[in-house]
Symmetry: C2
Subunit: 340 residues, 2 copies
DNA sequence: ATGAAAGCGCTAACAT
DNA sequence: ATGTTAGCGCTTTCAT
């Protein structure tokens, strides 16, 4: 004779009472319906419907240890590169009915730590993370505590930690080689600071391409460090060059946003792309193909990156670590190819 | 004398044993440290450190009913509009140390339902959702079960459900009025199908602007329905127009991607923007300002949209529902303004 | 095929 | 200030 004043969520005990069965049977209907007589099952299902019963996930997880959730932490959810990676992750997880909790660290190690702890407290199977810094010891200890870890967009520095990354050295090489093949003998590289691994790697790739062509990087490569990896950075980079009287013939930009700013600035100065300057970007973002002058760019297999990371995470425990490295691909468009 | 073979996560009982205190004390150290003697606290903290103890969130939530998690479901995480909204949400949640589980439904009602159920099972405080269809009865029943619900980017059809949206009628009106002010007397609208609420609303806004200017929409408005709301759709729209010999002087596109395709196609046909055709887009995405011809566009307060939604969700239970409608804003750039 | 009951790890009374 | 203990809702033996 209890009068429910503050409405409480229905539990399986409530369902059991209404259906006239035991909680064990309700649990069976929920998890192994084949073990229960159709008639009983029917009664239970009616009761579930009637009470609008929704299973309590916390209790379920506490008792069963069932974990069908994984975490993903990227640097910036408003960057198309990362959202594409996340979509790849979700795509793979869906195959096994796992779900991802997604968070962005905004390059902030403190935020990264907070989310990692949250994920761990909620007993995720594992996490995929693009580390905000080079310091990844916390990920190693996390793994020692039984949480799966896969490094995203960063090769693992240790052999027993799985990672998926893209070969940025190759990406830089592809871009530079393409420009050399267009007949250029000197390449200007609008790059970010080398403490960002991607920037250092792409630089190394450019050097490799130059050397392969028998050129001396000290002469054939002009590197300009841009203040930010976006359009304003690209504009600043081009201005720096022009101010010092250096008018490039071939420009490689560390990403498409930078290339966008470079393009804009060159135009304003009456310098034509591709007639006067050949331009190559990186990432092949959606709008690269849509610009007035479609942009040649290095495409990374973002979707696959995410899929593979999720794949590695879902492997049975004890599987050996794997370091996956994808190859980027050059997409040639107008911005780098002078009409014949 | 137990030998731990399969390593189990340390529990507060383990911590208590190591520290030589009771579980209650450990719990107090965790939740109300001021109630425990500094010396004892120290011992407990050492034990926690030593065992690398991480609290079990499921048990905690089961017992305490503590809910500091909310859910958010958007249509498409790779659309900058939605990622900006999500950032607004996260930004607001952070103030109260809540965290969001984010998911994208991909316009698929089935996915939307799946995620809603997952969220409910995990006892979220509430959900913010951009519904995939007009059918929202499941959200109403969800709320009856005690889960907070806020509609995102969609005004609520019922007064007791909170929502945050942007006035799309006004957005359409702003765009059209601007073009009329530039001296145009006929507006071509590359729009999506009217069963998408945003498209219907923006159309209504355009009509309003024309009527306010004393023009007859039947004559002054040419509406072309594009097959997709992206650059290819914009290209198709412009081609349709040109093929029927209709060369517009003022074009309003339902979003920036469509405008991008329109811009590209007009250029290829030797039609100059803005000299021959004035062009206005919608959303003011990042690259709108960065195009060779910077794009005039209607900006929506995406960040605020998310912040406000989270704000409504976090209000004390029993607060009256609110329907918030934001105003969009026209950002005028080169694409619509002929040089004097 | 179904029921009874233990217990997952934690928090919050309550007792000391 | 600290300890003891009930119980959150569920799954899963073990009986029947």
């Amino acid at each position: 004779m209890t009068i429910p004043t503050a409405r409480r969520r229905a539990s399986i005990a409530d369902v059991a009472r209404i259906a006239g069965v035991s909680v064990g049977t309700v649990s069976n209907v929920l998890n192994r319906p084949e073990r229960v007589l159709p008639a009983t099952r029917e009664r239970v299902e009616v009761a579930i419907e009637q009470l609008a019963f929704v299973r309590n996930g916390s209790a379920r997880q506490l008792r069963a240890g069932t974990i069908t959730t994984v975490g993903a932490i990227v640097l910036d959810l408003s960057n198309p590169f990362f959202t594409d990676v996340v979509r790849g992750i979700e795509h793979r997880l869906e195959l096994d009915s796992y779900t991802a909790m997604v968070a962005s660290s905004d390059d902030d190690p403190a935020r990264e730590h907070r989310y990692l702890r949250l994920f761990e407290e909620h007993g995720v199977l594992g996490v995929m993370v693009v580390p905000a810094t080079d310091e990844i010891s916390h990920l190693l200890t996390l793994r020692e505590r039984g949480v799966g870890v896969v490094l995203l967009d960063r090769p693992s520095p240790v052999p027993d930690l799985s990672s998926v990354a893209v070969d940025d050295v190759l990406g830089g090489e592809l871009a530079a080689r393409h420009l050399l093949e267009q007949g250029h003998t000197r390449i200007t590289f609008l790059n970010g600071p080398h403490y960002i691994r991607q920037c250092a790697d792409r630089h190394a790739g450019v050097v490799r391409a130059l050397e392969a062509a028998g050129l001396d990087p000290a002469e054939a490569l002009v590197e300009v460090t841009v203040p930010e990896l976006n359009a304003d950075g690209g504009e600043a980079g081009i201005r720096t060059l022009l101010e010092r009287g250096d008018r490039p013939s071939a420009v490689f930009c560390v990403n498409d946003l930078t290339a966008l700013g470079a393009l804009r600035t060159l135009r304003r100065e009456g310098i034509s792309v591709p007639d006067d300057v050949a331009l190559v970007g990186y990432d092949d973002v959606t709008f690269a193909a849509e610009l007035a002058t479609p942009l040649t760019s290095v495409r990374q297999p973002t979707h696959q990156l995410g899929e593979r990371a999720a794949d590695l995470l879902l492997r049975p425990p004890g599987s050996p670590a794997e370091q996956v490295v994808f190859e980027p691909e050059l997409v040639v468009r107008e911005s780098s190819t002078r009409a014949a």
